[in-house]
């Protein structure tokens, strides 16, 4: 029946949009760091996962709700991020192009092994009562977690773009990304500005970690898949604006769910990767990039 097909299709697209919000949440931090420091933070996925496991620890040992645990999780990751940039990356950036990449890779490896020791390789989830529920939207049933993810993504994107567009530090980060020397001539301490940018990126990672954990099961190796998604979003969405990255996430999410709908669940990621390749080939600056 045509109307059933239509409802199924609508269901798929809406799922894709909501999922895309989560993907955007994962990528926003990477977009900020890549845009400013031109640094490919290959530890980004594992740092998100650090946020996930932190929330998991708070939940299993202290009984704290994962979203509530963000009150501690966000500052914690903010400080870790500030430290990584100020004391590790800044020294590496002076030495060579590859050094920061290697350091990030090292951090990634350390984190993966750390999580394995602490939490075992078994798959875990941030299982809360609300994470498993679904809600109805005009005849379609959607997982509640997906809706939370989307709302979280919109909030983070909004906060980030307000920060970048309206505050002195935000503008300094944007300026330093476009011309580092000119920024220095304005009296901007680019070392400190970079540290803040990285710290903010980590704060968003803490957020993303919690919502990822609420939505999908995770293992110590999940960081890699998060990183791949983040890259996919940044490539498709382009750099230069938080909104562009957000829309990139949506496009990716919808591509995945539609791919799954038409070609089956095993092919859905294939569609995503093909999309990424297509954008790289035809419009390398991304669909919404500058």
């Amino acid at each position: 029946m045509a109307s059933e097909v239509l409802i199924d299709l609508l269901n798929t697209v809406v799922m894709g949009i909501l999922l895309g919000g989560l993907y955007a949440l994962i990528a926003l931090g990477l977009s900020l760091v890549f845009g400013v420091m031109k640094m490919i933070n290959v530890a980004h996925g594992d740092l998100i996962l650090l946020g996930t496991y932190f929330a998991y620890g708070m939940m299993t040992h202290l009984g704290v709700d994962p979203i509530l645990s963000l009150i501690a999780g966000i500052p914690l990751l903010f400080v870790i991020g500030f430290g990584i940039q100020k004391y590790l990356m800044s020294r590496a950036m002076g030495r060579s192009m590859e050094a920061p990449l290697l350091i990030a890779f090292g951090i990634s490896l350390m984190l993966q092994n750390l999580q394995q020791i602490l939490w075992t390789p078994m798959s875990k989830g941030l299982t809360t009562s609300y994470a498993l529920e679904s809600f109805g939207l005009g005849g379609i049933n959607l997982p509640l977690a997906y809706l939370f993810d989307f709302i979280a993504a919109v909030i983070v994107m909004f906060l980030l773009s307000q920060f970048l567009n309206r505050t002195y530090l935000g503008k300094a980060i944007t300026g330093a990304a476009q011309d580092r020397t000119a920024a220095q001539l304005m009296g901007i301490n680019t070392g400190r500005v970079y540290a803040f940018a990285f710290a903010i990126s980590m704060a968003t990672a803490a957020f993303a970690g919690v919502f990822l954990g609420l939505t999908f099961p995770f293992t110590p190796q999940s960081g890699t898949s998060f990183l791949i998604i983040a890259f996919g979003v940044v490539i498709v969405g382009g750099l230069g604006s938080m909104i562009g990255t957000f829309l990139g996430g949506i496009v990716l999410g919808v591509a995945q769910t539609l791919g799954g709908y038409f070609l089956g669940p095993t092919s859905q990621m294939l569609v995503v990767y093909c999309l990424v390749l297509l954008v790289l080939a035809l419009r390398p600056q991304g669909l919404f990039g500058r």
Partner: protein, 239 residues
């Protein structure tokens, strides 16, 4: 000897890796003066300005501003003290609005609370910037970008402005406008140290000048005196 000098550079050597760009250069600038640095491309003039701004550290020698040593300071401290550079090629932030470019000019804490005042001053000097304040900087013409770069430099409430080749790539009419604005800036008591391609214009606008060749000061003095120098006439006017 350097009494009263607002800026004094004493015997500095500056290296780029293994290459010595500046040899034993000394100069001084009095408060309110306008001094030109003249010389061929690659003579080290930009390097000199970048060293004063703190982007490069001299290997030897001293730089003092209003009696305080700034030789080892980093760029953000130097801007805070009141030295502002308008770099070669303008280097405005291309994907930011005209207004945001100006806002970033007032980034240093001493200038932040004067932001609105300085905005008014800059918009009065360059009304076109007010007109285009919401436009992205990259959409401005060359001359407008130069005015933006100058305006941005003014937003930090500087006492001394370092200008690197403002007329690069600009039509003569525009260059005239820019230098007219510069004269107004001078009237506010801001000291100027500038690099200018055209020797003629340098000598027209400046009180004093330093001629730089291969990283050394080969000649310096009041412009009126320099005009008479045979070497200048020969070297730069082919007479």
């Amino acid at each position: 000897m350097n009494e009263g000098a607002q800026l004094s550079v004493t015997s500095i050597d500056v290296f780029y890796g293994g290459f010595q760009a500046i040899h034993e250069v000394s100069l001084k600038v009095q408060s309110g003066e306008i001094v030109a640095l003249v010389g061929a491309n690659g003579a080290g003039k930009s390097t000199l300005l970048n060293t004063i701004s703190g982007l490069i550290q001299p290997a030897k020698g001293r730089i003092e501003f209003e009696g305080e040593s700034i030789t080892a300071m980093d760029p953000s401290q130097i801007v805070a003290l009141g030295i502002s550079q308008v770099p070669q090629g303008r280097r405005i932030f291309p994907d930011m609005t005209v207004r945001d470019n100006l806002v970033l000019g007032s980034y240093n804490r001493n200038a932040r609370f004067k932001k609105e005042q300085n905005f008014e001053m800059v918009y009065n000097l360059f009304p076109i910037l007010k007109e285009r304040k919401k436009q992205l900087a990259k959409t401005l013409s060359g001359g407008e970008q130069q005015m933006l770069a100058l305006g941005r430099g003014l937003m930090s409430s500087p006492k001394l402005m370092l200008l690197d080749e403002m007329s690069l790539g600009l039509a003569p009419i525009i260059i005239g406008k820019v230098y007219k604005a510069l004269r107004k800036i001078r009237k506010r008591g801001i000291t100027i140290l500038f690099i200018e391609q055209s020797v003629r214009r340098s000598l027209e606008e400046a009180d004093r000048a330093y001629i730089i060749e291969a990283g050394r000061v080969v000649l310096s003095g009041k412009v009126a005196d320099l005009r008479e120098e045979e070497e200048i006439k020969k070297a730069y006017f082919g007479i």
